[in-house]
């Protein structure tokens, strides 16, 4: 139980409207996009500025109280689940875009700025922020930095870590420390690279300086329709092998095509085995020859039909299908669980077979909508949370899929993070010596283990109340 004196002191820092402690209001904070485990914090604190984050953490440090950082709560691995941490510190009120430097293609933002806002703010300069997770209308830059988020366009442009030049980190002591900055090549260890993707275990990122990229002169978006996921997978390999680097290369299988078509009515071929969403961008002069090459490769792999978006509206409609595909799944089953794994890109056909086999074995419907060009799979397991046996089978199938990813030379997560969800699987990928090196580094930033405790590392796992998951919010 937190002391009344502490709560009073926290209110003095963040204002009365910056503290949430009512049981009903706290329900919102008991999980993020990963809903299979839930735990409500005792208190949610919402600082309005980086200095207030520092002041809040100083108060918590004085009491030795663990805390969990949270942005918009769109994470998919339970990274914001308060496990053994009574206080949640939310950055969502820290929404200032502090500096836009178009000449140098930099922007500095507070952690609570929403991903999409960054691009909106710099679009007039012909620039954009490249990492584009599906949740980009809601997710925050602070959360993106914590998770090293990806998105469809990371195939060509790289993930969050390739676009973060500096962060201000509030250490668990409450000290704010600037790592990196607008200028590249400051001497020293790459602590920015280390802090990106640390999942809140170093403290709370309060500000970030981001690299902006030039918005390409031209874009071509194609929808290629295939009879089978195998043929579509082979076309993906063919495109990569041909030396083409598309801006994005996404796949949707039949189950997902059906769900999306029912939800958004854009005329997708519901009898197709798979569709590829292929985007090429760059200088106008080079685009058409590349489109022609992609079409040639697709034809060589038996493509049934290729549609090229004729204008921005058609392009937007195709992307809406892709980015809101998860939302469409709600019509198919009361609940779903999105997995995130990676295989070497040539093993995509094999992992899809393994996913299908896991579905059959556990009597589950599984759809796939994923970043095929990166080998980053997102099987979506449909279930009904009122059926405890089905929940158990979902967890078992998820585990088998991750095991298959590792066995095929891949990874447990491409962009969602380990959080609480995949702690038990970490030893599949890393040995005791690897994990020891990581926990030693964690102790440098957070010697007492108070920043987002019981995340990422297996020995930190404690029991969380696992309840029947509710119907999932569409992301």
């Amino acid at each position: 139980m937190l002391s009344g004196a502490l709560v009073t002191a926290l209110r003095a820092v963040v204002g009365d409207d910056g503290v949430i402690d009512g049981a009903a209001a706290l329900l919102v904070y008991e999980c993020d996009g990963y809903t299979l485990e839930r735990a409500a914090p005792e208190l949610v604190v919402l600082p309005r500025a980086p200095a207030e984050v520092g002041a809040v953490l100083r108060l918590l440090a004085a009491g030795g109280i663990p805390f969990v950082p949270r942005g918009a709560g769109t994470g998919l691995s339970g990274g914001t689940l308060p496990v053994g941490a009574p206080v949640m510190v939310c950055t969502s009120r820290m929404q200032r875009i502090e500096a836009i430097d178009a000449t140098n293609r930099r922007v500095t933002v507070e952690a609570g700025v929403v991903n999409q806002w960054v691009t909106n703010a710099v679009r007039a300069h012909g620039l954009h922020y490249a990492p584009d997770p599906s949740s980009q209308p809601a997710c925050t830059i602070g959360g993106n930095v914590a998770e090293n988020s990806g998105g469809p366009h990371t195939l060509k442009y790289g993930v969050t870590t390739n676009h973060v030049l500096g962060v201000e980190l509030a250490l668990p002591t409450g000290d704010l420390v600037q790592l990196g900055g607008a200028v590249e090549d400051r001497p020293g260890y790459d602590l920015v690279g280390l802090a990106v993707g640390a999942e809140g275990t170093f403290g709370i990122v309060t500000r970030a300086t981001l690299r902006l990229v030039r918005t390409p002169e031209g874009t071509r978006t194609l929808l290629a329709v295939f009879d089978s996921v195998e043929a579509a997978s082979e076309a993906v390999s063919g495109i990569i092998a041909d030396g083409i680097v598309p801006a994005a290369l996404e796949m949707m299988d039949r189950l997902m095509i059906g769900a999306v078509e029912v939800a958004y009515r854009v005329g997708l071929p519901v009898d197709a085995g798979a569709v590829l969403l292929i985007e090429l961008d760059g200088p106008a002069a080079g685009l058409e020859p590349q489109v022609a090459r992609v079409e040639r490769v697709c034809r060589a792999h038996g493509v049934r039909e290729i549609r090229v978006a004729r204008d921005e509206a058609e392009r937007a409609a195709l992307w809406k299908c892709r980015k809101r595909a998860f939302g469409a799944v709600g019509r198919l089953a009361p609940n779903y669980c999105t997995q995130d794994g990676v295989v070497p890109r040539t093993r995509v056909p094999e992992i899809l077979r393994r996913i299908a086999a896991a579905g059959e074995r556990h009597r589950l419907r599984i759809g796939n909508v994923f970043h095929a060009g990166d080998g980053n799979i997102h099987p979506i397991l449909l279930f009904d949370a009122r059926d405890p046996d089905e929940v158990r089978r979902v967890l078992a199938a998820g585990r088998e899929i991750l095991e298959a990813c590792v066995e095929l030379g891949g990874s447990l997560t491409g962009e969602h993070g380990i959080g609480v969800e995949k702690i038990a699987e970490m030893p599949l990928l890393f040995g005791p010596d690897d994990l020891r090196a990581m926990t030693a580094i964690r102790a440098v930033f957070d010697p007492a283990g108070r920043a987002n405790p019981h995340k990422i590392f297996p020995d930190a796992k404690v029991c969380v109340e696992t309840r029947a998951p509710r119907r999932q919010a569409a992301l």
Binding site: D101, T103, N104, R105, G150, T154, G158, V159, N162, Q178, L179, G180, G181, A182, V183, E184, D185, R186, P187, G188, Y189, D190, L191, G193, L194, V196, G197, R214, I240, G243, V245, G282, P283, A284, A285, G286, P289, V342, P344, R345, T346, D374, G375, S411, G414, K422, L429, F430, G431, D433, D434, L435, R436, A437, M438, I441, R442, A443, V444, I456
Partner: protein, 410 residues
């Protein structure tokens, strides 16, 4: 000497000589392990004996960094030189640390691919040196740096454990991003034995132009304008009053980029000539590795490159020495090669505060040992230094690896 011979065989141990000196410090022994297990045994033996250890590939970049505080064993990893696994379809390659870049390039070229990093002295650079020194060249403008292409590492830690970080796939957020920590760390956190990189298709066409602008300010302005052109340059360097720009990709894109660049430069009154793209980029890549009393490296914002060049020019004139500069405009890196040793400390004292005032830095990238001892080669690493000390203490508590070479005496 005995424990080393027991580990690697007598044929692979010899006493250190003058030719093995690192910044003038001669190691007691040069040990050449042939396997990762031998590296581990060497590290354990060194740790047990309290001996300071420095890993070396082909030795082309040992002039980067501060002089070692101690050096007992030079661990030559040149025998660990295999390309372990090139997966052309996945566009990844896993390679041992001692593999020279030309050998790696040969393997990748077989599939029309390459690792698009072009450090100075590339012919004598190993994968380990590339990572440890965080080397780059003109291609950084469009292809990124080691940190952007490195997917995974295996590193022998201070207790002799083989520690893996990252992985072999192009997208991966499982665990901390340990590979980034080792990039540019000069081997101070462990002995890198293996690295996995993302590779890319080799662009089918290339062209390069050089524009002579008459003065440095006009050249800096042209370079920024070239960066913003519809076809973004493959690489872009500024040497004195000349801007060199490379384009690569499909033929149509390259032709359009070169034509637009020519028009842009000529509108500004520059004289433009076509040059061989490979040779021009190679010369620019090698500049920081060419003989000089010292090579300084300033980091500034791209928009401040012109001002940094003016500062360097004024400082050189005041110090009465000749300085040759080369700037990678897109990333804000400016090299200054200084002809004479004596004025280097004065130049650094004059220029470093100016670069730091712009939020940047000034590093003495390469210099004769005598020059290095007279100054701080690194400058201020910023407010992260206590955390950096913590990371070093966590991974190398006994200061076994290359002590004294890195920032803050690490």
């Amino acid at each position: 000497m005995t424990p080393w011979a027991e580990i690697v065989g007598a044929a692979h141990v010899r006493p250190g000589g003058a030719a093995d000196a690192v910044d003038g410090v001669v190691p007691r022994a040069v040990v050449r392990p042939g396997t990762v297990d031998e590296v581990r045994a060497c590290v354990r033996a060194a740790a047990g004996a309290g001996a300071a250890l420095l890993a070396r590939g082909l030795g082309a970049h040992l002039d980067v960094g501060a002089p070692p505080a101690r050096l007992d064993v030079l661990l030559d990893v040149a025998r660990l030189a295999r390309v372990l696994d090139h997966r052309a379809g996945d566009m990844t390659v896993t390679v041992e640390a001692g593999c020279p870049l030309p050998a790696l390039a040969d393997v990748l070229a077989g599939a029309g691919q390459w690792l698009p990093l072009d450090p100075p002295r590339a012919g004598r650079t190993t994968v380990g040196g590339l990572v440890a020194a965080g080397l780059f060249g003109p291609l950084r403008a469009s292809q990124g740096r080691v940190r952007d292409l490195l997917l995974g590492v295996r590193v022998v830690g201070a207790d002799g454990a083989l520690v893996a970080g990252g992985g072999r796939v192009v997208k991966n957020v499982a665990g901390y991003d340990l590979p980034k920590l080792h990039v540019g760390a000069l081997g101070t956190l462990g002995v890198l034995v293996e690295a996995t990189f993302k590779v890319r298709p080799r662009p089918p066409c290339g062209r390069a132009l050089v524009a002579a602008c008459g003065d440095v300010g006009a050249a800096a302005d042209l370079a920024l304008a070239a960066r913003d052109a519809a076809v973004e340059p493959f690489w872009l360097v500024l040497e004195g009053e000349r801007v060199s720009v490379g384009f690569a990709g499909v033929a149509e894109e390259v032709a359009a980029g070169a034509a637009a660049m020519r028009a842009l430069a000529e509108r500004r009154g520059a004289r433009v000539a076509d040059v061989d793209p490979v040779a021009a980029r190679g010369r620019a890549a090698d500049m920081p590795g060419e003989p000089a009393a010292a090579v300084l490296r300033a980091g500034v914002l791209p928009g401040d490159v012109g001002a940094a060049l003016r500062d360097i020019d004024a400082a050189a004139r005041a110090a009465g020495t000749a300085v040759r500069t080369l700037a990678h405009v897109a990333c804000g890196v400016v090299y200054a090669a200084v002809a004479a040793e004596a004025p280097v400390p004065r130049l650094v004292a004059h220029l470093r505060p100016r670069m730091e005032a712009r939020g940047g830095s000034l590093v003495v990238e390469r210099a004769a040992p005598g020059v290095k001892r007279a100054l701080d080669v690194w400058g201020d690493p910023g407010p992260g230094l206590p955390l950096m000390r913590g990371v070093k203490a966590a991974l190398d508590p006994g200061a076994l690896f290359a002590p004294g070479r890195f920032v803050g005496g690490l």
